[in-house]
């Protein structure tokens, strides 16, 4: 029941986020991007790994609309497949981070006391490390690649979700309807899952949405430094990195993946802002 009403609530709000001009453009772009990522193998004009050294560093022209890189690989196909890598890594990482953060934050906020202090101290500690450093630790442990990147992003955002959820739960715990539920003899699990979480989740979803944008940037950064996706897996960050070598000779190799990152992140942020407006939760995002 709780899930059903929450679902209706979410559908209504997301619909409202699409209703403004900015929301429609940004949201429409994101929907398109997700479709492109899902359908990459079918819509990419060329194999992203197919090399053609005879046609390396070719300027944008038919049939290579965005040109080719130093191995003669089609840049458009690589940007399309790169969307897949960027979105899936960022979304997976944020999903892990959000789930863990909500569980930790809710438990900390609800039970309080020593448990709360212990959890928050550890979580705040992770926040004090730069993202890159956390990524380096994972690379050192399990080697470079998308798994390290995913965990690095997940840990980088854990504190944000934990703190936000905890703040919501602490605030809601004092509400009259929670007191009323206790008066009716409800168990803590019932109160937490049925009443507190559904009321706390809206701002967490929005922060999650915005964090996907940040996650894409972080994934690109790690890829740029060679800590993320390994060749020949296409990743926007790694493509830009290889493009630096021919910055003046063939700028399209670095420009197009860069544009992809920038436009995607801007779209995510604009749509996130529209969601905040639609859910009417600007106040609740403060103090977390």
């Amino acid at each position: 029941m709780a899930v059903r009403s929450l679902d209706a609530f979410a559908r209504m709000s997301i619909g409202r986020a699409f209703s403004s001009g900015v929301g429609l453009v940004a949201g429409g772009f994101l929907v398109l991007l997700v479709l492109v990522a899902l359908l990459a193998p079918w819509i990419a004009p060329f194999d992203y790994a197919a090399q053609n050294l005879m046609n390396a560093n070719a300027a944008p022209a038919w049939p290579h609309l965005l040109g080719t890189d130093e191995f003669g690989r089609d840049v458009l196909s690589r940007v399309i497949h790169g969307a897949r890598t960027s979105l899936s890594v960022s979304a997976t990482a944020i999903a892990i981070s959000m789930t863990a953060g909500m569980a930790l934050g809710a438990a900390a906020g609800y039970f309080g006391g020593f448990f709360e202090r212990a959890v928050m101290t550890v979580v705040d500690l992770t926040w004090s490390f730069p993202d890159i450093l956390i990524a380096l630790i994972f690379v050192a442990i399990i080697g470079p690649g998308l798994t390290s990147t995913t965990f690095a992003i997940a840990i980088a955002y854990l504190a944000q979700f934990t703190r936000l959820t905890r703040a919501q739960i602490v605030r809601l715990k004092r509400e009259t309807f929670i007191e009323a539920t206790i008066n009716l003899g409800a168990k803590p699990t019932h109160i937490l899952l049925r009443h507190l979480m559904p009321n706390a989740i809206a701002p967490v979803i929005v922060v999650g949405m915005l964090a996907i944008g940040d996650g894409i940037v972080l994934e690109a950064t790690l890829g740029f430094f060679g800590l993320g996706a390994q060749p020949p897996t296409p990743s926007w960050g790694a493509m830009m990195s290889s493009g630096t070598a021919q910055l003046f000779l063939s700028p399209w190799v670095i420009i197009f993946p860069g544009v992809a990152v920038a436009v995607t992140v801007i779209a995510v942020n604009l749509f996130g802002d529209e969601l905040i407006r639609a859910l009417d939760i600007r106040d609740r995002l403060r103090g977390a």
């Binding site: 029941m1 709780a2 009259t176 007191e179 009323a180 008066n183 009716l184 168990k187 049925r194």
Partner: protein, 320 residues
């Protein structure tokens, strides 16, 4: 049956409640009256076993439910009493319902929790209870969200939730304070009918003496965390012996002519940290004498009622 004897409550070294006693039997309504800050709500919370949640503890006395002391019950066992045997209605119906859930599921939960009912059984029961609370079209109401309803309607839903598991005792903590006057009367009448129909024991906490006069069988007057006078409602209203009770009764507005001005009681209830020595009411009492500031008064019993005042024997001669 609920029986509270000599209840004392402390938060750390502060003692906001002491020596509170009362008994309610099925079919009976007990009124607990007093100004804000006199300890009425705290008494209700103690009975519900909610003190640990707000950092308080019971320092003395007993709370007996069906002959067994429940003050020592562990939290898990207490949960069965809360909502199951003792229902509590709090003062603010506007915020007592989960804003994200429809009415039906919220009420269903109580029967599921305490009576082990399945979804369909609980819903049938919800519809039935909403019907007995004179809520029109109960089946439709189940599909509404709280924000779609009026305050009076929400208070009925809250009462329905408190009654859903068929408790023996109902504690109503200022159930009408947040409502319109016309709706107040409806809710009070509804509670009164429930007591008769379901043979409930009702504890009605209020600061409204006229409500007490209309509905209660017995009354406990509280001041600064103590019971100052208790007895059958007729006796108290006919012959109030504690000056505080007299003052409360004098505050009931009567008549419309200009000569009867609204009266009040000078001063305010002392805060927990500076309860006065001796009789707690003496700084505001029109009859206070030297002894009142030194010696806490004993209860002076007369028939079924008792008043904690040094001058209880003579006090019922009301000053003109």
């Amino acid at each position: 049956m609920l029986s509270v004897r000599d209840l004392g409550v402390a938060f750390g070294s502060v003692q906001p409640l002491s020596g509170v006693s009362f008994t309610v039997s099925p079919g009976e309504t007990l009124g607990i009256v007093g100004e804000s800050g006199s300890g009425k709500s705290l008494t209700a919370m103690s009975v519900m076993g909610l003190l640990p949640l707000i950092g308080g503890r019971i320092t003395g006395g007993t709370v007996e439910f069906d002959g067994a002391d429940v003050t020592k019950l562990p939290e898990r066992a207490y949960r069965k009493l809360r909502g199951g045997k003792i229902g509590l209605i709090t003062q603010n119906p506007m915020t007592s319902l989960d804003p994200l859930q429809k009415i039906g599921p919220q009420v269903d939960d109580v029967a599921k929790l305490h009576m082990g009912m399945t979804g369909a059984e609980a819903r049938a029961r919800t519809v039935e209870i909403l019907g007995t609370l004179r809520i029109p079209e109960p089946a439709l109401i189940c599909d509404r969200y709280p924000h779609q309803m009026s305050g009076g309607m929400k208070q009925r839903i809250v009462i329905a939730m408190a009654l859903a598991a068929d408790p023996d005792v109902l504690i109503a903590d200022e159930p009408t304070t947040a409502l319109d006057v016309t709706v107040q009367a409806q809710i009070i009448r509804l509670l009164d009918d429930l007591v008769k129909e379901r043979n409930l024991a009702l504890v009605l906490i209020t600061h409204d003496m006229s409500v007490v006069a209309q509905t209660c069988d017995k009354i406990v007057v509280m001041y600064a965390g103590r019971a100052v006078e208790h007895g059958p409602v007729e006796a108290i209203f006919d012959r109030p012996r504690h000056p505080y009770t007299q003052a409360l009764i004098a505050c009931i507005p009567r008549g419309l002519d200009d000569a009867t001005r609204l009266t009040g009681i000078e001063g305010t209830v002392p805060t927990v940290l500076n309860y006065p020595k001796g009789c707690p009411f003496h700084p505001r009492c029109p009859r206070a004498e030297a002894i009142c500031a030194v010696e806490p008064p004993e209860f002076s019993v007369e028939g079924d009622s008792a008043a904690a005042c040094h001058f209880a024997e003579v006090a019922h001669v009301q000053p003109a």
